[in-house]
Symmetry: C2
Subunit: 257 residues, 2 copies
DNA sequence: ACAAAAGTGTTGCCGATACACCCATGA
DNA sequence: TCATGGGTGTATCGGCAACACTTTTGT
């Protein structure tokens, strides 16, 4: 009975007023301790981890839905968020036996329930500043965690594939996306920025050439401060010159990596 | 009565077994007489032109649906086809009064009919060889026509926006897509290939540099033949070295335009 | 023979890479 | 004082753009 009520709540709160056959999934990237990470969550009673996602309300655009999911998951608004691909394989959801899982909990849902629909998912990727994120748990979510992209677990449905596609897009888009601005804190050093690029690209870059290049874009401001406490020579702090940054992005940051 | 039957047919043939809320739309590019063209069609009783599109059968992937639409429209199979964006604005279909149009014909459909659903559309673009296309008319289609992309008419829904987005993607993807191979006939001259690129990019290119660059990729084979009948010096004919082409595409054709 | 189009070669510039030296800091 | 990391400068190389001359063809 308890369970039945829960199923009913679940239905009304999450699935009562949503469109069938369409969803959004967000690959939320963060950067911490020199690792590129993704925010994943594990749904109640489901073993596999999954990407934060959700369905559309009838009056909501795809973009709005993605922003809403992001806000529900990270508490953040006005985040950099970009659609990158729609996943529509016929059997993309076949690896999960929802009926079995729910049955074990004594939850019965009609076979025509939205949850079992064959669904096209539109993928978005987000760049967020790690330290600002404090995900909340909702009724469906049992656990959340940041994973190193290289060590991501087996996920629900085709979510591993979606994550890989997001990463690939991110790499190709490095020139056009405000990567540093969104993934790093307000102030950062040149080596830190370089580490971010190296981590995303998965290869090392020449220190001197990197600095010349990035400064060449004219989108960084060097501050008077330096980062103290390091074991060696203290590096300068930089921040983004937002006005210049967005101006530069429109024309693309040229150059290949 | 006649009309009612038609409405019923329409329903069974086209909408009886499809998913609601999702569709695909194809921007089909061709090249003819030095113009980049798109294949548009006009649906029966609807004034505006539209992109060829359709809904998904329950057992069909997005890609399969796009290929099916393409085949229905052009008779072509194994065509270069690429997904480029999902369009999901809340009001993207608001500019058309289906109820009014159908009412004028005496066709009554239930307000919950799939046709009136709020729909997310996944955009694909295709590159086809103009001369090979012979579109067929189906029960819903009244007229089809190739339009110069620069002179496309006002279209249904947000189809103008979808077409623009496709064109923008095509330009950015010039390096990665087998543009020439799909849009030109088997054999072609260097000036013809250059015209294609110039038309897509919307700007003129230096003849000598263009030739050096394209030949530099090592994906073209020069034939012994020349194109005769021109008023002046007869140019060589080329064809693609398919093996080399696909090998080169994997690494990307480098270089920016 | 002449006009118009097509084939080919050379130069110079700019950006990216490769590489070396000096400086600051904490242990 | 030394090891380590951070700041800065220079030489070279390659790709692309700019550009000119010759050849072919139909009229």
């Amino acid at each position: 009975m308890e369970q039945k009520i829960q199923a009913k709540n679940l239905d009304e709160q999450r699935f009562g007023r949503v469109l069938p056959h369409v969803s959004v999934d967000c690959v939320i990237f963060g950067f911490h301790e020199n690792q590129l990470r993704v925010l994943l969550l594990r749904l109640r009673s489901i073993q596999e981890w999954s990407l934060p996602g959700g369905r559309l309300f009838p009056d909501e655009s795809l973009d709005d839905a993605a922003h809403r999911v992001l806000k529900e998951r990270t508490g953040l608004q006005n985040i950099f968020l970009k659609q990158f691909y729609a996943f529509g394989d016929r059997h993309r959801m076949d690896n999960t036996d929802f009926h079995g899982i729910l049955a074990k909990q004594g939850i019965q849902l009609d076979p025509s329930h939205v949850l079992f629909d064959r669904t096209i998912s539109v993928g978005y990727y987000a760049l967020v500043e790690f330290s600002q994120v404090t995900p909340g748990l909702d009724i469906l979510t049992e656990e959340w965690r940041w994973w190193d992209v290289r060590e991501a677990p087996v996920m629900l449905f085709d979510h591993n594939e979606i994550m890989s596609a997001a990463l690939k897009t991110l790499r190709r888009q490095l020139r056009y996306d405000p990567v540093g601005l969104n993934l790093l804190p307000e102030k950062f050093t040149m080596p830190e920025l370089q580490k971010l690029y190296e981590t995303i690209l998965g290869k090392t870059l020449d220190r001197r050439n990197f600095q010349k290049r990035l400064l060449g874009y004219g989108i960084l401001k060097r501050l008077e401060e330096r980062r103290l406490g390091g074991a060696h020579k203290s590096p300068y702090l930089y921040c983004f010159d937002r006005e210049q940054y967005f101006k530069a992005l429109e024309s693309g940051l040229e150059h290949e990596w």
